[in-house]
């Protein structure tokens, strides 16, 4: 590993003086500062008056029973200018087409209605709200009809249940957001930097700087120098961005306290951050080594994209397994359990399980041990591929050729 330090320094300096790298990092930091300081800045401009919210869209209520439900519709649809309407349905539809009116409920008694709307939005929940309102009015009327006093009936209908949740394991609701963001960050950094390692190696080869490099330093030093430099660059970027976010949030904590989501996002337990670091570094290495090895087999930059495809596929597949398990509330499914021992998926899978569920320590230890062993194994194999690959020019070798070369190396 002669000259490893020099190579590491040179490669790291490449990242840190790269305008794009610095630009993106600074941009993200500035953006985060702006977002996190926004309530404070907005507060400075806020003179306390509530702004007039402008013209609300018009919602019409008409038909049999419209009079009875009108008050509760008005109370429930605060985003709309709710009006009673007397007239033909055709005219009403005409008004919707002309966009004078956004939507209309044509009641047919309290248990049936038609909802008229121009473009039905994906998020239109008006019918669900109307269902609930009508049911309530119907029940109230039914209760009064069967002899109950109107006040009593209203009280029964309005009964509130109080409850409290005592979490013994992990509060998935609270952990969800930052787990999601961390998995995302892990994915982005590994995908980006892995690709960069491959491109760097291929660039050295295609520019023939490799001809000189291989006579000066051992391929192993070159590869480890590159991979570790990009790992450090990735870490620096992560720390800079997340650090800015954390500091920005702490400085503005008072302004954000009302926002539970924001607060829960920054309430990351320390042990989880440590796990994040461990899985990031190990996950990064296992992929970056392979990306480096694949990069060394390409003789032209254009070949890189096709060469790294299988590796990227494996990576994307594991990302989606983890992501779907996370969003689909199945972090402890058999698939996830298996994935948390497979080195290529375990950095994301095991991390998600630790964050979102309760995992026995022994499982974590086994998973990390398998991962470390695999990183060493993959490192050795990749160094061998690299050593042979950097001297190969012409067509990219087939996988079978590489295996043959490895057996000899």
């Amino acid at each position: 590993m002669k000259f490893f330090g020099k190579i590491l320094r040179f490669e790291l300096k490449n990242y840190l003086t790269n305008k794009v790298f610095v630009g993106i990092t600074v941009f993200l930091m500035v953006a985060l500062v702006l977002v996190l300081f926004f309530p404070r800045i907005a507060g400075a401009f806020d003179d306390g008056t509530v702004e007039e919210t402008g013209d609300k869209p018009v919602m019409l209520v008409t038909g049999d029973g419209a009079q009875a439900v009108f008050p509760s519709f008005q109370a429930a649809f605060t985003d709309y200018d709710v009006r009673l309407y007397e007239g033909a349905v055709e005219q009403l539809q005409e008004q919707i087409r002309e966009e004078a009116v956004e939507c209309a409920f044509v009641l047919d008694g309290l248990t049936s209605y038609s909802y008229h709307v121009g473009n039905l939005s994906l998020y239109d929940a008006n019918t669900a709200v109307a269902d609930e309102l009508l049911r309530e009015v119907y029940r109230l009327e039914a209760m009064v009809g069967s002899g109950l006093a109107a006040d009593d009936a209203a009280q029964i209908m309005g009964t509130q249940i109080s409850h409290e949740v005592i979490t013994l394991g992990k509060d998935q609701m609270k952990n969800y957001l930052y787990t999601y963001v961390m998995i995302m960050a892990l994915y982005m950094v590994i995908a980006l930097y892995g690709q960069m390692v491959a491109t760097n190696v291929a660039t050295e080869k295609s520019s023939r700087a490799m001809e000189l490099l291989i006579t000066s330093a051992k391929p192993t030093s070159m590869m480890f120098g590159k991979v570790i430099a990009s790992c450090l660059a990735g870490l620096i970027q992560l720390v800079a961005v997340f650090g800015t976010a954390l500091v920005g949030f702490q400085l503005n904590r008072d302004y954000w306290d009302a926002d539970g989501m924001m607060a829960s996002f920054f309430d990351i337990p320390l042990d989880l951050l440590v796990y994040m670091l461990v899985f990031f570094v190990l996950g990064f290495f296992i992929y970056a080594f392979l990306y480096g090895a694949v990069g060394s087999t390409a003789s032209k930059l254009e070949d890189i994209n096709t060469s790294v495809m299988p590796l990227t596929m494996v990576f994307i597949a594991s990302y989606f397994v983890v992501l779907f398990s996370l969003t689909g509330d199945s972090v402890d499914s058999t698939l996830m359990k298996v994935c948390s021992y497979i080195p290529f998926a375990s950095p994301m899978a095991m991390f998600t399980r630790i964050a979102m569920s309760t995992v026995p320590t022994v499982e974590i230890v086994i998973s990390i041990a398998i991962l470390i062993a695999s990183v060493v194994g993959v490192g050795v194999v990749s160094a061998k591929i690299y050593r042979v690959g950097v001297l190969l020019y012409g067509t990219s070798p087939k996988i079978w050729d590489i295996i043959k070369m490895l057996r000899k190396a």
């Binding site: 023939r208 700087a209 000189l212 000066s216 001297l391 043959k404």
Partner: protein
């Protein structure tokens, strides 16, 4: 110092690239490694520089196995290339550091060579802003900055204009005078003839000819005369064994090489002769003869 490559064999897969290559190079002398494309020159150089090991054979320095921590190599590869997007000073210092120099020494040495090759003004420019010839001069610095004991130059003159070629010649002569081993590989035979005392011609992974260049030339049968004369036509018509040679000269084959002095005198008396000498093959002729048919 004597650098000796002994009986090197190397195969890649089923393909045997080197089949027992042996060479000897001396300090203060230039050695020409010749051969057609694919003859095994680059593989020999790579094994010499410990890029990969030979299957068998050894490399000796003054009789003892080579110690790569003591013997420095400088290499100008035939396939030129550095980092196109990086500042020249940065990459030159990096390469010098990879050859074992400390940072400040590396900066000093690189600046010295930039000055020597008239490239100081490009010190802080990106490599890809330079012309091809200037890029080549930059690349030459990577081979020389760390003051190596062995300098390997693969096609050093290709792409250089006559002024730069002259500059490079001076640098090479200077290196030889400093007692370096200079290993030349080139297809431009005139440069090899100018610099190299000994040569080796590789063909199909074997050394087909090696030794002192002058001796090799002298060892050719001295049975032909080159005659330059205004009366070429008469000589061709009247002298037995006369055939047209290059550039209007006439080649006269000697029936008995021992009689060459007598024949020379005769020719000089009978015709108006400008020049008459014993024919020696050029390196080009020798190369074509030995490397011509690839096995």
């Amino acid at each position: 110092m004597e650098l000796k490559i002994c009986d090197i064999y190397k195969s890649f897969g089923d393909k045997e690239v080197l089949k027992g290559v042996s060479l000897t190079a001396q300090s203060g002398k230039a050695f020409g490694l010749l051969g057609r494309n694919g003859a095994g020159k680059t593989t020999t150089i790579r094994i010499l520089m410990d890029v990969f090991p030979a299957d068998s054979g050894e490399i000796l320095v003054d009789g003892a196995p080579i110690d790569y921590s003591k013997i420095g190599f400088g290499y100008l590869p035939e396939e030129r290339g550095l980092y196109p997007k990086k500042k020249i000073i940065d990459q030159l210092v990096y390469f010098a550091e990879l050859k074992g120099m400390g940072r400040s020494d590396a900066v000093k040495a690189v600046d010295h060579w930039l000055e020597r090759l008239g490239m100081s003004e490009y010190r802080n420019k990106r490599l890809d802003t330079l012309s091809k010839g200037n890029q080549q001069k930059i690349q030459l610095i990577t081979a020389l900055a760390h003051d190596p004991e062995v300098v390997i130059l693969d096609e050093p003159f290709s792409g250089l204009d006559p002024v730069n070629a002259m500059l490079l010649k001076d640098v090479v002569k200077e290196q030889i005078a400093k007692g370096k081993i200079v290993l030349f590989s080139s297809h431009q035979m005139n440069y090899i003839e100018e610099f190299c005392d000994s040569i080796a011609i590789l063909n199909g992974g074997q050394v087909v000819l090696s030794g002192d260049l002058h001796q090799i030339k002298r060892d050719y049968p001295r049975d032909r005369l080159v005659v330059r004369s205004a009366q070429s036509e008469q000589i061709l018509a009247q002298v037995a064994g006369a055939v047209p040679g290059e550039d209007g000269a006439v080649l006269v084959e000697l029936a008995d090489p021992a009689q060459k002095q007598a024949v020379m005198r005769q020719l000089a008396e009978r015709f108006d002769v400008d020049e008459i000498r014993v024919f020696e093959p050029s390196l080009n002729d020798i190369f074509v003869q030995y490397a011509g048919d690839q096995e």
